[in-house]
């Protein structure tokens, strides 16, 4: 009896909708600047996000220079330091990772991988990018206003965020909040497009349960973002009112700098609840696309189907749902009813179940696979390491009794950097090495890529593993200098210096990556249409890079799931999604 694939059909159902109309621009500007093509918009998003991300990278160097070698740099005063900490966090989380995963990869990959010619509303999609760019420019503008950008910490907690004495309390905080409002407006326009495209504009045969996990991850993250950003929008508006109109939503009566403030009766805790109702799903907005993409990278480069596809999908959905009921584990030291802490600790630990399921499935995908140690694969494996380490410390911090003494120490910094900075950025790099050939038609240089991986992987571990130890010693986060604090031994300072050197080196290595991007665009090895022998639709396009409309004359028809690698009996070790059962070459 012939081998029956996991999920393959002989026939595809008839088309339910006609061809999508496309707007074809005639000028160069219309094609590459005011473009309505999701692929161009995706690249615009990616370049802008990486550009502003580099600013945040430089700020992390300055933070580390101050921490590693206090009293050595006269150009970093305490205000600057707080501003760097604030902007580094905000840019990396919102303006880099969210925009890059959803705006960048989402725009580029969703239409290609579900077999659509474009997003459902390309014009709205284009406006989404320009609003995002405007938000980024507002953020950049805050560097040039009197007082500089806000130094309130990326969480922007009131009352201190808007009180005089905090850096940037006059102009910086206004620009920050307005920029966030515009970011949310821009994101909503794009996000609605991504969701509707996935739900309503798939090609024939592409059922939801045949979609690559990349699309599942981006889709679910977009849903989370559409439901979580409203809380941030509302808190930004209310804080602007407190600041500009003198309302007291978040501001209690207090004495600041020797003066009784004009506010009374507000609730600072309300802001924290609103912020973290956005803030915790935000972690998964960044993590879920990474989960999805890394699943595909592991499957393609291990030449093996993803282990437990359906469970992977349900885990993504479950994590998405649970992420809305764990937010107050960020607030154990804020002053809450102890029963709340009990509830949120429990939900936090429950979310580890679907997450652990995913980790097991990744490892089991590698098990007995034909592992190709390509650069994307190296980054995918690096992701698993960083994510397991960061995830395990997350279980520590989810427990109230363990979390309280570790709150606001370097342990927390090490935890969230491993789990939501190093892990997702590993996937970003892996994804860029993986899809660069489709975007440009050329391979990225492998030698430079491998150097980039090992230096980044080992370097980030050199930064964050010792940082856990600093946290156990009680070294606080966000402090400009700890000075002669009794409980912190002098050796902590040498450790800090070592971490700083490692972080400078890791930062410098990213220049090799940027050089590789440019060099390979002109001199890289031509890749052909499907260099990785992958099954998903974006590798089956008529042209590489794909033209506007993605698929040439006819849309592909899908006959199987996305993971038919090393199918027994088939001649090739991969069967693309658009190959019907009768056309599979067998010997």
């Amino acid at each position: 009896m012939a081998y029956v694939a996991h999920d393959a059909s002989v026939f595809a159902p008839p088309a339910e909708v006609g061809e999508m109309e496309l707007y074809h621009p005639k000028t160069w500007l219309g094609k590459y600047v005011w473009s309505q093509d999701a692929k161009v918009i995706g690249i615009q998003y990616a370049i802008t996000a990486i550009g502003i991300g580099l600013v945040a990278l430089v700020m992390s160097w300055l933070i580390r220079l101050q921490l590693g070698f206090p009293d050595s740099f006269s150009f970093i005063d305490p205000s600057n330091y707080l501003q760097f900490v604030t902007l580094h966090g905000m840019i990396m989380v919102v303006y880099l990772l969210t925009a890059l995963f959803l705006g960048g990869f989402g725009n580029y990959l969703i239409p290609l991988m579900v077999g659509s010619r474009d997003m459902v509303f390309p014009y709205v999609n284009m406006v989404s990018y320009w609003v995002y760019l405007f938000a980024v420019l507002l953020l950049v503008a805050s560097f040039f206003v009197p007082g500089g950008p806000t130094g309130a910490g990326w969480t922007l907690y009131p009352p201190q965020a808007i009180l005089q004495g905090t850096p940037g309390a006059t102009w910086g905080i206004i620009l920050m909040l307005v920029s966030l409002v515009f970011f949310i407006i821009g994101f909503t326009m794009g996000g609605l497009n991504y969701v509707v495209t996935v739900l309503q504009a798939r090609t024939r045969g592409m059922t939801l349960m045949r979609m690559p996990l990349t699309i599942w991850g981006i889709f679910m993250a977009t849903v989370l973002a559409l439901l979580a950003f409203p809380a941030l929008l509302v808190s930004a508006i209310m804080m602007l009112f407190d600041l500009l109109l003198g309302t007291s939503f978040f501001m209690p009566a207090l004495v600041s700098m020797g003066q009784q403030s004009e506010h009374a009766g507000g609730s600072p805790l309300l802001f924290q609840h609103l912020f973290w109702f956005f803030g915790h799903p935000e972690v998964y907005i960044v993590a879920l696309p990474a989960f999805g993409i890394v699943s595909d990278l592991l499957s393609v480069h291990a030449r093996k189907n993803i282990f437990g596809y359906r469970m992977m999908v349900w885990a993504i959905v479950a994590i998405g749902g649970l992420s809305f009921v764990v937010w107050a584990h960020h607030m154990y030291v804020s002053g809450m009813n102890p029963y709340f802490g009990f509830f949120f600790a429990t939900t936090t630990l429950i979310i580890a179940v679907p997450t652990a399921l995913k980790v097991y499935n990744w490892v089991l995908t590698l098990w007995h696979g034909n592992i190709q140690l390509t650069v994307p694969m190296l980054f995918a494996i690096g992701f698993i390491f960083a994510f397991i380490h960061g995830g395990l410390t997350g279980l520590f911090l989810g427990n109230v009794t363990v979390s309280v003494p570790l709150s606001d120490t370097m342990f927390v910094v090490a935890h969230f950097h491993l789990v939501m900075a190093v892990a997702p950025i590993m996937v970003v790099f892996g994804a860029i090495y993986h899809w660069y050939p489709k975007i440009t038609g050329r391979m990225l240089n492998e030698g430079m890529g491998k150097f980039h991986f090992w230096a980044t992987f080992l370097g980030t571990y050199a930064i964050y593993l010792p940082m856990h130890y600093l946290g156990f010693l009680g070294v606080p986060r966000r402090y400009y200098a700890v000075g002669g604090t009794d409980f912190i031994p002098a050796s902590a300072q040498s450790l800090n210096a070592g971490i700083t050197i490692a972080s400078l080196l890791v930062g410098a290595v990213q220049l090799v990556f940027l050089y590789n991007l440019v060099w390979s665009y002109f001199k890289g090895k031509p890749s052909g249409g499907n260099p990785w022998n992958a099954t998903t639709l974006e590798w089956q396009t008529a042209d590489t890079p794909p033209k506007h409309g993605n698929f040439g004359a006819t849309l592909p028809v899908v006959y199987r799931w996305a993971y038919d690698y090393s199918v027994p009996g088939a001649d090739q070790d991969f069967i693309p999604q658009n190959v019907p059962a009768r056309e599979v070459a067998r010997t």
């Binding site: 339910e16 559409l226 109109l245 009374a264 609730s267 004359a553």
Partner: protein, 240 residues
């Protein structure tokens, strides 16, 4: 490329009943929601997101109402109109609510006439809906002016807790903005209907997609949502 056909095809498909139908829809090919045009699906998802915005506003209002130490002004007294020398509580609000709910009725009728391709009636009903919406906004402006004359400001008021004015201006202002945007788009859609844009499938300026009478229903979704939100604001802010 094959010649383009309309992006939405609205032929009824046989559906299984109940839960099985839902499962069959979700797990099916090409579209999760059969016969639902893109614009309508997008509006539903946007409204879901917008629901979270209004929920956050209302929950925040309830929180500050609890956190403030000053007494909360009595809405029935603050929002009373003096008519023939008698104080009638919530009179203006009752009329405003009545007008807004009525506009939902005319909107629903516009949708019905739209699907019948009755340009004249659709146009008239859309304009009536817009007029009722504009009346609502006008009366809200009157209410704002009355309150401001009484000394209510976002940062304080003579009746009690400062948060009363803050929450009032913020929430009704945000809702009023929604109504105003709705009125503008109602007029835009009405003009499109009258010009026959929806019959000739002329592409819209905002989406670039071809016009059709489902647009009227999508517009209606937004309008009903704005009305529904008002019911919650009415119940939680004015009646409580």
């Amino acid at each position: 490329m094959t010649p383009a056909t309309p992006t939405t095809i609205a032929q009824p498909l046989p559906l299984a009943d109940g839960v099985q139908g839902i499962v069959a829809d979700w797990s099916s090919d090409q579209r999760a929601f059969k016969n639902v045009p893109w614009g309508k699906a997008m509006m539903w998802i946007f409204l879901l997101s917008d629901t979270f915005i209004f929920s956050a506003f209302l929950i925040s209002y309830m929180t500050v109402r609890m956190s403030t130490v000053e007494p909360w002004p009595n809405p029935s007294e603050v929002f009373a109109l003096t008519l023939f020398g008698k104080q009638v509580p919530l009179l203006l609000i009752a009329i405003m609510t009545f007008i807004l709910i009525s506009s939902s009725g005319t909107m629903a009728m516009a949708v019905r006439f739209g699907y019948q391709k009755n340009k004249q009636m659709t146009f008239i009903l859309l304009l009536i809906t817009a007029a009722l919406g504009a009346t609502f906004v006008g009366m809200q402006a009157f209410e704002w002016i009355t309150l401001i004359k009484d000394g209510v400001r976002p940062w304080g008021n003579p009746m009690g807790a400062a948060q009363f004015g803050s929450a009032f201006f913020m929430i009704t202002g945000f809702h009023g903005t929604h109504v105003t945007i709705g009125v503008i788009f109602l007029i835009v859609v009405a003009i499109k209907v009258l010009r026959g844009d929806l019959d000739h499938q002329r592409p819209g300026f905002l989406t670039g997609r071809k016009g059709n009478y489902e647009m009227v229903e999508t517009m209606g979704l937004y309008w009903h949502f704005v009305d529904l939100v008002w019911v919650f604001i009415f119940a939680l802010f004015y009646l409580w």
